[in-house]
Symmetry: D2
Subunit: 378 residues, 4 copies
């Protein structure tokens, strides 16, 4: 469905050709300062198309308008409704494609599932659907920062076959996870890869496929620092399970791995296990390595949570494609829409937002347990 | 929490040292034939430890006992409660470990989250917790088979650094996905890798690490055939998101990818897109390739759904480990428990069960929509 | 929270002094004709204040604007977002009351729960919150009508101490339940009591209390005809439990009873039981009496569902009230706001809407079970 | 469905003729002392049939067995599974009734909903289903007592046409609500009416109907003292809405009213409103009267919460009933089962348990909000 979360809960609405897209956020802490310009708009602008020549030229301003739940720049604790108007949708661009379900897009499955075809083809599969997530995520993030200084930073670690070094067992990579900031990520330009030794090649990779009227995928890596210990609700709502759910709900995502991930399967337990030590500064147990990716037994352990999300190449390309119509006739589909050759860099704020939504919800749940622990222990 | 699903819903209970483990399943179709011996026990037996010398010598019979929801081998449609008694738990085996949180196990995070330490250390992180999932999954699977001949087959595709060929773009691999059966998988022996050219090496890999009192991880690949078109509930409950959630909730899992997965990010859209054609036999549109892994826009498209799940090496090893006690003192932990050097083969029925739980739930939801479509279209 | 329902699900937002109030509806059948003017606005207009001199003079037009989920007057099956702008709110009217929590209003409890005071005092306790419910309910009702000709008619059966005859054991009352229409209810005027022998007295009752700058409560009776058999999900989501939940969530409601209700407790089983007979016309079993109120064992039995909802007198009155300030000082509060002396007649569309939301959701769930029954019975 | 609650959540299972009935409770505070004999069994024994000659002679011991979630009499915070074996079910007693759906029982609706007939006829509509609720409620109650000294006391206030005085506007009744204890209620004998001036007549009322092989209904009144301020989640999960949901989910319940209830509709706002005053002892605002029944705007205000629940006469009676068979043939049904002439007294612990489940869940949710308030206010 279009609702995500238990206590901190978002419900989104909107497709690319309707009046607006947006969301309702429930469970917002009451009394939290919240300003549209400072707190919400920045992430929405990072998500917006048209940030560089590498992305789609659609010129959408994506200004978020708060409908409820805030007075005098302070949250009321009541449902926070936010929307962004659809201004520049040009529905005709897609008209020519109407007889063809676009290959690997959602046209076919939406038609099968809902028994009709929205003028936007894939309905809610549009990237504009993510606006509501990012607006909600910005609220979650603000809360997490106030609550325990949580920092969530995502970046591009691969475009096509150009990848930065992201070996989880490598100390330099772990150092980067410790230090990377959102400012640093954005300073590289729209490509948002902090490893400047490969960022240029990534841009070229995108330009190559754009030149071929083609598209290419990528990988987003994300780190969460200062995550409180104890988040995650086994056995089904382990923290990694919720993060995986969140990430795989992002359009075009194909995979998720955290900590050592797929690479970790070939490392024996004796090396993979993260031994404990007492950290004097923190005043508590920590682990010497972090192959667990900050989550053990489905519960955060206070170390950095880090994970990768794979994004496939965008389905809509300007090349001609030999395919079939809805009626089953073979033919050639030529797209005329305006699309990104690579959406991965724009996925950055979406990944961060979904992570924030998961963590804010889990934090509220665990703090409720903490309360009950305190009560019964008396 | 310990509940999974919306209409077809399972709630599990139990840790390794309590009276029993089990589950309540809600939303079971009424009037379905269900026999413990034929329908439930086989998957539970596949999950059970002690199936070969490669796995733990714990001798648990794991006989499931139905408490409610079934009469005369027929489901009532009311909650189906099932339990398996904990017979051979020997709690003392773990006693020596009490002062040390086992590295990369759940001891530390459970202690932090719940403020206490169960005698089993990691509480619900025990592999025995998965018994309830497998029992429930067997019921879901039975329903899916009756509903549309759904076939779910998982197998081991990697142990440590020994991997079978599982390139999603390879025709042979796709052929294997089309034809592999559970019988074929089990016929190879407990290693459960259908590629006999590597199965032997996998066994050796496990034996090597067992010889070193160590452990090793692996990858499980799973295919779902005959999945009805239209399952999955965007935008947050996309089918891949639910599968990812389900898989990452399995103990020791570290990653999930479906279709082309992480490998697909470097393949341009022109090659990655799955063109449509009209399949005369099926009487409907199908795709020539299946890089999408049977899911487009978060909704099943009728092609095979296939995915990989990464499992890390088991945390509990018999080697000594230099680590710290709960109180922060450095020291050496020697485990005396009985454990698998590689749990990946035993994860097969768990992966299948979790997939079945996701699909049964989504099928019920979509059929309800189908009904409403039919009503309003009149 | 602000979400209600499982498959057919509404999430509302908005308080009386924000930009807009509204809702997102999930689970809307795709392909359903839906026109704002014909399908949504009528119930919203019936809910609106300012319909007669008996109600508040606030002049709100309450025009609903659809944001998403509908194209060309047809639902897409995606989330349906709707909003109504807050035009005439005059926040200053309430300013004088700021130091006093209004007695029996939500000011005190909202301040305690959320730790702040919204400029509207009671935040979401405002009657404007119900706009989202009514908009969503109109969609649910449309679906129910198409699905099985469900008719939901509510009416005022008591104002203050003036009550129409509503003895559940009386044949005339049961006849009225069989025949009453919404048109008939509205034809009586804003008082909406179909018993014209008492409607005039009800108007006088309201005028009496208005003359005294006071307010008075009432009872709404509601009947659902043609409800499909089999709705309701025991054991916790019995149909009457969901209806009770729905009705008691309406502002100012104090009680709910269905079928024989509180009067039924003194009638022995031999008289209270509804014997079965075979109805030739319907071609199925029916009950000779309907003391059960159309629900047995928590499940609809195809007879009329009928129930009463008690509404207390409105808390905000123009009389002076001796009470205390937030700080605890005794004093006299004089309200200057514009308020209804009796909201009961305006509650009619809200009661109908909440009933429709419950039934639409339960119908979707049961039809999904019907599907599964059909599958496993083969 | 069979799950109730959000954070403190119970899922029940079992019908009267299966192996056992019971529940899984999630969200239990970890580290809470919990002993079966002291904490769970007492309420189960109060619910048990066979407590007096007034109730059914079925001799069930109803000994609860904990399966998981507790070690050494301390909760682990993991799912708490509990079950009670079905020992004395004698399924043959009902055999003769198989061709007739029992009037006003759940036989007909269960057969229609599920498409089959369990040997117990009404399946989960059996009163034995409530065992799981009472076991879970006992856990909730223990937590509430530790958390803030919450006291929940229910009692019989009416049997048939014999009612004690329960006028909400009467000072004596309010005094009784302030002082009544569970011990006091039980001291009167199984009739559980604290007003000894009518308790004897109630017993006679039951005996009269039992003598006529008939049954009779009643009303249970319940008070919650020391409920923390701020519980309830508007707008749909107002505290009264959740309580109504909970109470109407109890078998045979027909109505719910809280505070002034149905009687309050004829009292004008000027008298009905509860003025505030500063209570020196409590150190906070309180209300001089409590017509609101402890809930304002859907949120608890710290005053006593009190409500009435109507229970109809038991459907199964020993008298012959003229009715029809499932096939539609007219005929006479004679019941041979053992049944209570009045279940109202046995409903006492069920009402208390359901109230406790609602409050424990809401307390956890609100304490989570309190945490977030504290965080953002810094």
């Amino acid at each position: 469905m279009s609702t995500f979360g238990t206590l901190f809960k978002v419900t989104t609405f909107g497709e690319s050709h309707c009046q607006s897209v947006g969301c309702i956020v429930e469970g917002v802490p009451p009394g939290m300062p919240l300003r549209v310009a400072e707190d919400l708009q920045p992430q929405l602008s990072r998500r917006r198309p048209g940030q560089s020549k590498l992305s789609t030229p659609r010129n959408e301003r994506d200004a978020v308008i708060v409908q409820s739940g805030v007075e005098f720049d302070t949250t009321l604790g009541t449902p926070l409704a936010m929307l962004v108007k659809n201004e520049d949708h040009r529905p005709n661009d897609y008209k020519g494609t109407d007889q063809y379900p676009r290959p690997s897009h959602a046209d076919f499955t939406y038609a099968e599932k809902y028994g009709l075809q929205a003028s936007s083809g894939g309905g809610r599969a549009s990237a504009r659907e993510t606006i509501g997530r990012v607006a909600a995520g910005a609220v979650a993030e603000k809360f997490l920062k106030l609550a325990s200084g949580v920092e969530i930073v995502a970046f591009v670690s691969q475009i096509g076959s150009v990848a930065m070094q992201r070996d989880p067992f490598d100390k330099n990579f772990q150092h980067l996870l410790n230090t990377i900031t959102r400012e640093k990520v954005d300073s590289v330009g729209f490509i948002r890869c902090p490893d400047t030794s490969v960022a240029g090649d990534m841009v070229k990779e995108i330009e190559k496929y754009r030149g071929q009227q083609d598209s290419i995928g990528g990988v987003v890596t994300c780190v969460v620092r200062n995550c409180p210990i104890g988040l995650g609700e086994p056995c089904f709502d382990k923290l990694e399970a919720l993060l995986a759910h969140a990430m795989l709900s992002i359009p075009a995502s194909k995979g998720f791995e955290f900590g050592s991930g797929f690479a970790g399967v070939s490392v024996p337990g004796s090396q993979h296990n993260d031994p404990f030590y007492f950290d004097e500064e923190a005043g508590r147990l920590r682990t010497r390595t972090n192959n667990s990716g900050g989550i053990q037994g489905g519960i955060s352990n206070g170390e950095n949570i880090y994970f990768n999300v794979a994004f496939k190449s965008v389905a809509t390309i300007s090349q001609e494609q030999h395919t079939a119509t809805y009626e089953g006739k073979d033919g050639v589909l030529a797209s005329k829409g305006r699309h990104d050759p690579a959406v991965t860099p724009r996925a950055i704020p979406i990944v961060e937002s979904m992570a924030a939504l998961v963590l804010a919800d889990q934090l509220l749940i665990q703090r409720s347990r903490d309360y009950s622990r305190g009560v019964v222990a008396k």
